[in-house]
């Protein structure tokens, strides 16, 4: 365990929240420009603060780094305890980076209540970083649930025509899962002699029956969040109705909260149950990959297509977790990060088109490359990355998971590999119908290409996607030790005698 001198993690969490509050306090309807600049400065500073974490991270150290721990609620023996290890480290700068992108993406697009929009995203960013850094179960839960509040407001105020239904569905569906996890957390607290420390829970011996109950309770929250089939139905609604920035944050980060939960809670606390129920989890993941891939193929709405493709990619992630070998788990985590970039980019591209034409229907497009060549190039790049083209980040994760799956069981690997085929099918078919071909609509003929702001944000993401695809070593090196430790822990049974 490395103790840190500077409270970098606290800073990463509270700086964006503080800026969010400042933006909300100083924002006035008649001065949106000032608000936007303030929000941009805030998000850039919050991103800058996460960079020393990457820099100072020791790849070969075991356990948590940048640890902070203060007593918080003595009645519950709960601590304000933070820490990152190889699994969670890259998720922190990813969140801050996506927040910067979202602020830039909203520049001229959001006209009403700009201060509240920017404030909500900044506060949401801090809360999500809090989820990834928390090493105390109660603190994790508080941050996990708290993210629902700003997201609900974002979808409901700035969203599309059916936004109220989508916002309620998102909130209540996710809340249902989380409340069952709350009972599990309380049970663990009482069982471990009044401790909320996740580390203690990892070591706690439990009977198989208890482990299965706890696994199912955690599964409720994380399966809804990831989302896994069949509790995935909130995602297409939420993504379609959310404003572009909201979809980006939902896809890029909020889904990862669920996947992270599997790694931090379900697998290490209930390893025997994880093995016992792995068949079910693998089946659900494969259904997500294959069935949802087919569902994505028939979508007419671009955003819904990308939403279903997100579910399919996250199916890959959960599949990797339950293969119980290093290559698969590492691949799954790499996939989490890469999906963060790619899905953000896809939603931004759709947002670019929507800002001009105000339609997300594929049928309303065709031949966009003729009037928006720069956009088309980037859109094609991101779609290729979505299918897992080598040299893009999408390939790295999927390849590692497939090899890991084949090591576990050849047929599961085969079925997982079909993800590449379906991914290519729906991504490329959408690209073909939207970008290529002749211009059939007048509004397409009148389209203007990317302006400097849009080009910058998509360009930055393109660089990230290609860089990670060509050189994923910084990511895989950081997670090596933590994943190995996790798998060693999961391999040992901890059934109470």
């Amino acid at each position: 365990m490395m103790l840190s001198n500077s409270p970098l993690l606290s800073l990463s969490i509270w700086l964006p929240i503080a800026f969010g509050i400042v933006v909300l306090a100083l924002g006035r309807d008649k001065n949106p420009g000032f608000v936007r600049i303030l929000a941009l400065i805030g998000s850039l500073l919050s991103f800058a603060v996460t960079l020393p974490i990457v820099d100072g991270f020791n790849n070969s150290a075991h356990g948590m780094q940048f640890v902070e721990s203060i007593s918080w609620i003595s009645r519950f023996n709960a601590f304000y305890a933070l820490g990152v290890d190889g699994i969670s480290m890259w998720l922190v700068p990813l969140t801050a980076f996506i927040t910067v992108i979202v602020v830039i993406a909203a520049w001229e697009v959001i006209e009403k209540n700009v201060a509240q929009y920017m404030g909500a995203f900044l506060i949401l960013s801090g809360l999500m970083i809090g989820v990834f850094c928390a090493t105390d179960g109660l603190l994790f839960y508080v941050f996990f649930e708290a993210t629902l509040i700003p997201m609900y407001i974002i979808v409901g105020v700035w969203g599309g025509p059916n936004r109220v239904y989508a916002a309620f569905k998102f909130f209540l569906y996710t809340l249902m899962g989380s409340l069952l996890t709350l009972v599990a957390i309380i049970y663990l607290y009482l069982k471990s002699d009044s401790s909320f420390s996740i580390q203690t829970w990892h070591q706690l011996p439990l009977t198989l029956h208890e482990q299965i109950m706890l696994f199912v309770a955690f599964l409720m929250a994380f399966a809804v969040k990831v989302p896994m089939w069949p509790v995935h139905t909130w995602l297409p609604d939420a993504h379609v109705e959310a404003p572009t920035g909201g979809s980006v944050v939902l896809a890029a980060i909020m889904l990862k909260l669920g996947a992270y939960g599997f790694l931090r809670f379900s697998l290490p606390i209930a390893p025997d149950a994880s093995h016992y129920l792995s068949g079910m989890m693998i089946t659900l993941s494969l259904i997500a990959v294959i069935y949802i891939g087919l569902v994505a193929l028939v979508q007419k709405d671009m955003k819904k297509l990308v939403a279903y493709s997100s579910i399919a990619h996250m199916g890959f992630v959960t599949l990797g977790f339950f293969m119980f070998n290093e290559l698969a788990v590492q691949g799954a985590i790499v996939q989490m990060i890469s999906h963060g970039f790619i899905s953000a980019a896809m939603f931004l591209c759709i947002g670019v088109l929507y800002d001009r034409v105000h339609s997300r229907e594929i049928a309303d497009y065709g031949g966009v490359v003729n009037t928006m060549p720069k956009f088309a190039a980037l859109f094609v790049l991101f779609s290729m990355a979505n299918c897992g083209l080598p040299a893009t980040s999408g390939f790295v994760g999927e390849f590692m998971v497939i090899i890991g799956a084949v090591k576990f069981n050849f047929w599961i690997g085969m079925l997982a590999a079909t993800a590449l085929i379906f991914g290519a099918a729906y991504s490329l078919w959408m690209v073909k119908r939207v970008v290529f071909g002749a211009i059939t609509h007048d509004h397409v003929a009148k389209l203007t290409d990317l302006n400097k702001r849009e080009f910058f944000m998509l360009g930055v993401l393109a660089i990230a996607v290609i860089a990670m695809g060509l050189y994923p070593a910084p990511f895989t090196d950081a997670m090596q030790v933590s994943v190995a430790d996790l798998l060693k822990h999961v391999a040992t049974s901890k059934i109470a005698p």
């Binding site: 918080w72 609620i73 003595s74 009645r75 519950f76 209540n113 509240q116 109660l138 839960y141 508080v142 941050f143 649930e145 708290a146 629902l148 509040i149 609900y152 407001i153 409901g156 105020v157 936004r163 109220v164 916002a167 309620f168 909130f171 209540l172 809340l175 249902m176 409340l179 069952l180 709350l182 009972v183 309380i186 049970y187 607290y189 009482l190």
Partner: protein, 493 residues
Amino acid sequence: MNLIIPPSLYPELFLLLSICAILLVDMFLGDAKRNITYALSLLALGVCGVLTMNVTNDTSVYLSNNMFVSDAMSNLMKMFSYIAVGVTFIYGRQYATDRSMTSGLLGGEFYTLALFSLLGQMIMISGNNLLIIYLGLELMSLALYALVALRRDNNVSTEAAMKYFVLGALASGFLLYGISMLYGATGTLNLNEMSKMASAVTANKPILVFGIVFLVAGLAFKLGVVPFHMWVPDVYQGSPTVVTLLLGGAPKLAAFAITYRLLVEGLSSLAVDWQQMLMVLAVMSMAVGNITAIAQTNLKRMLAYSTISQMGFMLLGLLSGVSNGSSAFAAEAYSASMFYAITYVMTTLGTFGIILMLSRAGFEAENIADLKGLNKRSKWFAFIMLLLMFSLAGIPPLMGFYAKLSVLSAVVAAGQVWLAVAAVLFSLIGAFYYLRIVKVMYFDEPVDASPINAHMDLKLVLSVNGLAVLALGMMPGSLLRSCVDAIKISLAS
């Protein structure tokens, strides 16, 4: 004869004297000077607060032939009661003046009746004798009946007052009947002696159990739990909003206190019996309250049903104290209920404060539709209402989450994991109507775009109220610790 009055009795005596003084002073004040009565009432509450802070907190003090107990729990409850009544005065002053509740023949009786009900609550909180508790209960109730009927020309209010009075008298009758049976079975009215006698009763056991049933029925009415809840929606909706706040705020603390004193301190040996009764009440309340609230369009009525479900949730803590014969977790369980009651009162003050702020002369802001587009009219108060709604739903990082966490923790510690699961599922249903309020404020366009005209003191205290719910949600440690310590001290003696 010892004429020295012990300091523990100062708050009650001072309040009584100050009520009499305020009544006298008020006689000579005209309608224009009614604010003096308001100021004097707040001053009286302030002095009571100071006096209560000086009362010993480390041990329980028994006075007046053991009829009066002053311990850490009673001090904490009284402090929050003063805050609740004081804040209600601040929120309701303009509202009451606009509706002629503090003018004409009525004079300043609104304030004095409210202070009398507070005096009754203080006696309930500190009562250690069955009859004293009953006296306090009646003092509080009679004052509240009069307050509900204060707008005697308003049909809805007088109907609510009739319902409240008749049903309340019936419930007091139940309570008295139960008390008489307990006296018959144990031979004593004193709670300390009763707890010793209750375990030894064998021949009169059926009478004792019957007595407990009537007692619980009477208490359940005062708390407003199913199936004694029918008065709550009608009285909450019909009363003038400021009186709804007087009914729904501090009296809930007093009701919790007497439930605790009677059942936990007085009848702890029969815990198995009354815990089962409370379980039925709690589950039915959470079910009925949460499901019926979804259908409401009147905000006050919705809050009434939400109160029913919140009180049901609070009862979960009280029924988790003794499990399988062991009371290892009793202090945590009862303090969880106490913290829940305090959280509920603080959030209720805020929600009704918002309603009072939006109401004007001739306009009652009591429908959910009246909150539409509040974000456009006032970003700050829409945010305050958002904090309060999410606190009631139990979403972190608001105070309500820790209240739910404490109670659920007690329930799981008592081994009732499935009860905890049922409780969270009912809370999920409940979350819908709290979310609907947030939706109406933020996602809808305002129907009534008039600016919000409220006095500075209301706005200031309302802001502090909302921010306190957030602050105590981020740092609940000290209040939680105080509640646990208070219960531990009171259980020890």
